[in-house]
């Protein structure tokens, strides 16, 4: 399943997609949980009883601001979360 967390508003679309099929048997020991400087990821059991990660609900409506520090404009050449997730389960829409 692809879970898109985020929103669309007048300024653009801000979604973090998590491919839970790649996430269920995580090969990198949930590295995203510690890679994100704002600790936006958390483990959860989804509706189909699979253990996956998701974006904490407190961040789902403010991603444009919360992720800004990890974008190229802040000096990062790659996102810490997507870099840590080597199976490629995490993607940003912007």
């Amino acid at each position: 399943m692809i879970a898109n967390y985020g929103y669309k508003d007048g300024s653009g679309e801000y979604y973090i997609s998590i491919n839970t099929d790649k996430c269920i048997n995580c090969e990198v020991n949930r590295a995203c949980l510690t890679a994100c400087p704002k600790v936006m990821f958390e483990p959860m059991v989804d509706d189909y009883e699979d253990e996956v990660v998701c974006i904490k609900s407190a961040f789902r409506r403010t991603l444009a601001y919360d992720c800004a520090d990890c974008k190229p404009s802040a000096g990062y050449s790659s996102l810490p979360c997507t870099t840590a997730c080597t199976p490629g389960a995490i993607k940003h829409s912007w």
Binding site: M1, I2, N4, Y7, K8, D9, G10, D47, Y48
Partner: protein, 307 residues
């Protein structure tokens, strides 16, 4: 001592509530719940409406759809009471209860809470059959685009609950502004000579301001409604396009009853929405009750908690 003249209190005229949609309660006259082996209940406490659906042996038996009050637990209880009154079914007769919707964790008598995303997919699969692949849920205060497989299992979803554009609440605002009952908005939106440009599709407050401006500029009410329906359609289509649209397109939620929005969505997507005889607003609660049925089959009945 001077006498104080007491003025009689002014009588307040009751203001008509144009946004108020029709609540409904239904039970299948051809079924008898007493002969069912497994009775499961789904309670969907949404931001605007609450539904209770009863499924008997995996088949839709009864439902109650009403407005959500200020208390989620009370709304859940009242939704069930509607069905109780209609059918005579009590909580003691129920084998499993699943809560869903934004108030799902506040259903006092539920055994399990499941997100409305999974429940809408399951409900749409029941209502539209296993050909359903893309679901658009236009809820009271959010909008969801969902992909599912032939069994109704979610494969992709996104949700927008940051603003009211493209939601039922947006339509209620326009209904009140135009002073036209919400059920008439859809049909009236087609009564225009020429399809107008859409108003703002990113914010209900902006859309309301624009609608007022159009009225002052000489637009008829019908033309303004058409412009708003078009804006709603454009808004949700942009969400749908993000996850892609597959054949087997199904719309759930209250807005599915508004042909003014549905026909415009179909035109923008170039695809027709599947039709159903079941109330589109109960999809979430129906899915929850069906999840309950599956759980009863897997693990046996649970003892209901008393509300």
């Amino acid at each position: 001592m001077s006498q104080v003249e007491t003025a009689s209190a002014p009588t307040l005229e009751k203001k008509p509530e144009f946004w108020r949609w029709e609540e409904s309660c239904w039970a299948d006259p051809d079924q008898d719940w007493k002969s069912a082996k497994a009775i499961t209940v789904g309670i969907d406490v949404g931001s605007v409406s609450s539904q209770c659906v009863v499924v008997a042996d995996g088949k839709l038996y009864a439902f109650n759809s009403m407005r959500t009050g200020s208390s989620s637990p009370d709304s859940a209880v009242n939704a069930f009471k509607g069905v109780e009154k209609k059918t005579g079914l009590t909580l003691k007769d129920v084998h499993f209860v699943v809560g869903t919707g934004y108030g799902r964790v506040n259903v006092p008598f539920s055994h399990k809470a499941i997100t409305e995303i999974a429940c809408h997919a399951r409900g749409a699969n029941y209502m539209g059959g296993n050909a359903v692949r893309t679901i658009l849920d236009m809820g009271g205060q959010d909008c969801k685009a969902i992909h599912c497989d032939e069994k109704g299992k979610v494969t992709n979803f996104l949700m927008n609950d940051k603003c009211a554009a493209g939601t039922g609440r947006g339509m209620e605002v326009i209904s009140d502004l135009m002073q036209i009952p919400i059920g008439e908005l859809g049909p009236r939106s087609f009564d225009v000579d020429k399809e107008p440009e859409a108003v703002s599709s990113v914010c209900v407050v902006f859309a309301k301001s624009e609608a007022l401006g159009l009225l002052k500029a000489g637009y008829t009410k019908n033309k303004v409604i058409a412009a708003y329906c078009q804006a709603m359609a454009e808004r949700v289509v942009s969400l749908l396009e993000r996850i892609g649209v597959e054949e087997g397109f199904f719309i759930t939620g209250g807005i599915a009853k508004n042909p003014g929005v549905v026909k415009r969505i179909e035109k923008l997507l170039g695809i027709r929405a599947m039709e159903t005889k079941i109330d589109s607003q109960i999809a979430g609660a129906l899915g929850a009750a069906l999840f309950g049925h599956t759980l009863v089959q897997k693990q046996g009945p649970s003892k209901p908690l008393v509300a």
